[in-house]
Amino acid sequence: MIGLQLLVQVLALGAAYGLVALGFVLILNATGAVNFSQGDLVMAGGFVAVALGDRLHLPGLVLLPLLIAIMAALGAAVALVAYMPLRARPPEAVFISTIAVGIILQNGANRLFGAEPLAAPPLLGVGPGGGQVRFAGVTASVQSLAIIAVAALLIAALHGLFVHTQFGRRLRATAQDREVAMAVGIPVDRMIVGTFAVAAALAGAAGLLLSNVFFVVPTSGGDYILKAYIAVVIGGWGSIPGAIAGALLIAAFEVIYPSLPLLLPALNALPDSDGWFSQTVSTVMLNLAVLLILFVRPRGLFGEPIGQRP
């Protein structure tokens, strides 16, 4: 049934975008700054996964812990170089410094891996794609289902971290009021570096998942950061559930819009219907929709999360 098929696609894509957006909003909350290199970290994660797969010949799921460790280290490095020296400056400075980091990652990847699209190893099994599964009239690739499962697991783990551990609570406290966090004993600088590490780890996981289905090129990052940014804006700037909701909305748009002629056959009668429902036009439509939201409801579809006093 086509609806369910599309739903699975939306969930899989939304899950991966959600991981990207989640890393982005974590850093936003902890530091108030936009990490423009988040998308390029996803790309880097994809390439590291490719490299690990080439050397170790193991399925993605087994590589995941090692990948996360490497990416966490990379995230800490980014924090130390692009954020810590700029703590006292207006947030725009970090915007620019992370744009620079993104450029460095992108061109570094180009240097190391070239411009050809590469595929990361699939989550389960070695070699391309893990086959298909049928249920309830839906055909889904094992990879898609695995993406949904892994993303859900990671998001649940993060939730568990934030709500049930002292470290997670302190991370949230640091994000909400840095000065008072210091005054209750929280080592704020270490927390921030830790947040970058967690965000980069999430980016790595997203990279592994996405780079198998969509292949990875050095320029992949640009698209991911834009998606994450949009997700966080429409979901409410700073809201973690909002970021995930935003990611799902974007995925829904990207899956459903090009499929509209399938869902509403009448649309096929439109002139140049192939052109109007291509992926590119879909992206243009998404951008226009987001611009509209910015014009009309800049605080996001669900509003900004914490009650603010002007």
């Binding site: 936009v34 170089v81 692009a82 020296p85 700029l86 400056r89 947030p91 725009e92 400075a93 915007f95 620019i96 410094s97 744009i99 620079a100 980091v101 993104g102 450029i103 460095i104 992108q106 061109n107 570094g108 240097r111 640009g222 834009l226 940014y229 949009i230 804006v233 700037w237 052109g275 291509s278 590119t280 036009v281 992206t283 243009v284 951008n287 226009l288 987001v290 611009l291 910015l294 014009f295 800049p298 009650g307 603010q308 006093r309 002007p310």
Partner: protein, 607 residues
């Protein structure tokens, strides 16, 4: 110091760099290869782009990520018009400059007022959409492959071909663009932008329409970008979607950050530096974007003001120019004493406003007459500053009315309220740190008249500006801060900064002056000095509403006192009455332990 050295020192880095450029032009250019000239031409185009970027990113201080897109749009418009319709470069200019500007206007209206992160996203989306449109709309744009055969730049029917003429044309246009940008950015408009960057609320409070100023900057940046784009496509001969890619934006940003975003010289020098870099360091040729990234990171972290600013600071140390001569003071024309009218100058009735469940103001009513000083007191959190903010239009009241001389101003925009005759001082002196005390005050003289047209046609010798500075000088003298007129605001002692801020408020020739803790940060001598000056102002017809905690300062000055507590008015009357009012004392000091209340001001110790 001899005059030529003074003039040279004032020009900052422009002088030495111009000398270098001239030397190059005379010595190296005639022997340069065609390739080298082409690179230099590209540098010129990027210089133009960066100069334009300086309006929105530098002057207005807003991080726009659409500059590359505007350049690309200009390139595409000019390229398509030339290849498909045979319209030459100069005839196409209205479109290649106009279309980016139109797009900037369309998008800017809703988006410029948003905070940084929303504005940046909106500009990013414009860029991406433009790129996608260019690659998809094959019939018009030639799609991903673009179009070849774009004719060279042509002016008035003459095609400019050949490397050297093209190079010289480009740089001639750059020179003109740089001069215009410098002209606009210096003088009153530049000062107004400086205040806008430093403190938006303060600029609105002197009547500056910040939304309009930002839009002007955005439009100028788009126009310059369009021009750069059309030069680019005609000089290159080929139209390709690369011109709309993000690397162009990154290059522009790198140039602006490296070159110092507030300096036109910086944009030019930065462009030459960045574009020539891959040529000088051959090994960087393939990885030039990687190099740009590293340079951008390094400069943002280590040299936030950019290279040119660092250079100027260095030159400043070697070559300190003499202090500017201060103008002769010219007192403001006296306000006519208003006819005795029963109607108060400021009337607030039933003002109510809450924030997120807290009642900041509950049904407050008060009035201020011309020639009267009303003091507003109350413990912390009682709503005093909120009241001031409501009167000056920072937010609209939920209910109740605010009238100035009978006109209701509730819900008006702050700059309109300021132009109507209400001026205010802020709790922390909100001056533009990079301007002198004198210039900070002078901006406020006729701030409403600031605009692009005047900035372009008027010169730095504009008589209106000179008069404004003389009047500002008189205002500073009248408040006892004249000796500090030439000092940069960032270096002013806080007591003086406060006086300068009051002078700025007075420069708008207000009918009503609102001051928020003017005595804070002043020592006792300065306080004793300020009070009679304020009294003098009030005697000439202004109404004054002043928030203060310092009773020694306020009580002798005020005709009436009003006390707020938790958003409500709890006492009003003469200073003596209010100071002795038991509710006021309780609000401040609390009720004493044994039920003894501390009403009697000079009671004896309890037993």
């Amino acid at each position: 110091m001899t005059p030529w050295r003074t003039r040279l020192a004032r020009g900052g880095a422009a002088g030495p760099l111009a000398v270098v450029a001239l030397a190059y032009a005379v010595l190296a250019l005639p022997h340069a290869s065609g390739y080298a000239m082409r690179v230099l031409g590209t540098a010129g185009i990027y210089a133009l782009l960066a100069i334009g970027y300086g309006f929105i990113f530098g002057l207005a201080g807003a991080l726009s990520l659409a500059q590359g897109a505007f350049m690309g749009i200009g390139a595409y418009v000019s390229g398509i018009l030339a290849t498909r319709y045979g319209i030459p470069f100069d005839a196409a200019l209205p479109a290649s400059i106009g279309l980016p500007m139109a797009l900037a206007l369309l998008v800017g209206v809703p988006v410029l007022r948003l905070q940084t992160h929303y504005f940046a996203l909106a500009t990013l989306l414009i860029g991406q959409t433009a790129l996608l449109a260019a690659t998809q709309w094959q019939s018009v744009t030639g799609g991903a492959n673009g179009m070849g055969g774009v004719p060279p730049i042509s002016l008035l029917g003459h095609a400019i071909s050949g490397r050297l003429p093209t190079l010289l044309t480009i740089w001639a246009i750059v020179a003109a663009g740089a001069a215009l940008a410098w002209w606009i950015g210096h003088g009153r408009l530049g000062d107004a932008y400086a205040l806008l960057r430093a403190n938006q609320a303060a600029s609105r409070a002197i009547g500056i329409d910040t939304g309009r100023l930002r839009m002007v900057a955005f439009l100028l940046s788009a126009g310059y970008a369009g021009l750069a784009g059309s030069l680019y496509v005609h000089a290159l001969g080929v139209l390709s979607p690369d011109v709309l890619g993000f690397p162009v934006m990154v290059t522009c940003l790198t140039i602006a950050v490296v070159g110092s975003r507030l300096r036109v010289t910086g944009a030019v020098a930065g462009a030459v530096l960045i574009i020539e870099l891959p040529e000088w360091a051959r090994f960087l040729r393939d990885d030039y974007m990687l190099a740009f990234g590293c340079i951008l990171l390094l400069v943002v972290v280590a040299l936030p003001g950019g290279l040119i600013e660092a250079l100027e600071r260095l030159l400043g140390r070697l070559w300190a120019p003499p202090p500017e001569r201060l103008p002769d003071p010219l007192p403001l024309p006296l306000t006519r004493r208003p006819p005795r009218s029963d109607r108060p100058l400021l009337e607030i009735t039933g003002l109510t406003r809450g924030f997120g469940g807290v009642r900041a103001l509950s049904g407050v009513s008060l009035s201020v007459r011309a020639g009267e000083v009303v003091g507003l007191i109350g413990p912390n959190g009682s709503g005093k500053t909120t009241l001031l903010n409501a009167v000056t239009g920072i937010f609209p009241p939920e209910s109740g009315d605010i009238r100035l001389a009978g006109h209701s101003i509730a819900g008006w925009a702050p700059h309109r309220i300021a132009r109507l005759g209400i001026a205010r001082g802020f709790q922390t002196a909100a001056l533009a740190p990079g301007l002198s005390a004198l210039d900070n005050v002078a901006i406020a003289r006729d701030a409403a008249g600031l605009g692009l047209g005047r900035a372009v046609w008027a010169s730095p010798r504009d008589p209106a500006w000179r008069r404004a500075r003389r009047e500002a000088m008189a205002l500073l003298d009248s408040l006892g801060a004249g000796a500090h007129a030439g000092v940069l605001a960032a270096s002013l002692p806080p007591g003086i900064a406060r006086l300068v801020e009051i002078a700025r408020a007075l420069a708008t020739a207000p009918r009503l002056l609102l001051l928020d803790e003017p005595a804070a940060g002043l020592n006792e001598t300065e306080q004793a000095d300020l009070a009679p000056r304020l009294r003098g102002l009030v005697d000439s017809g202004i109404g004054l509403l002043v928030i203060e905690h310092n009773m020694a300062f306020l009580a002798p000055l005020a005709d009436r006192l009003i006390c707020l507590d938790q958003g409500a008015l709890i006492a009003a009357g003469t200073p003596r009455e209010v100071q002795g009012d038991p509710r006021v004392i309780e609000a401040y000091l609390g009720v004493a332990p044994s039920g003894e209340d501390m009403t009697a001001p000079f009671s004896v110790a309890p037993t």
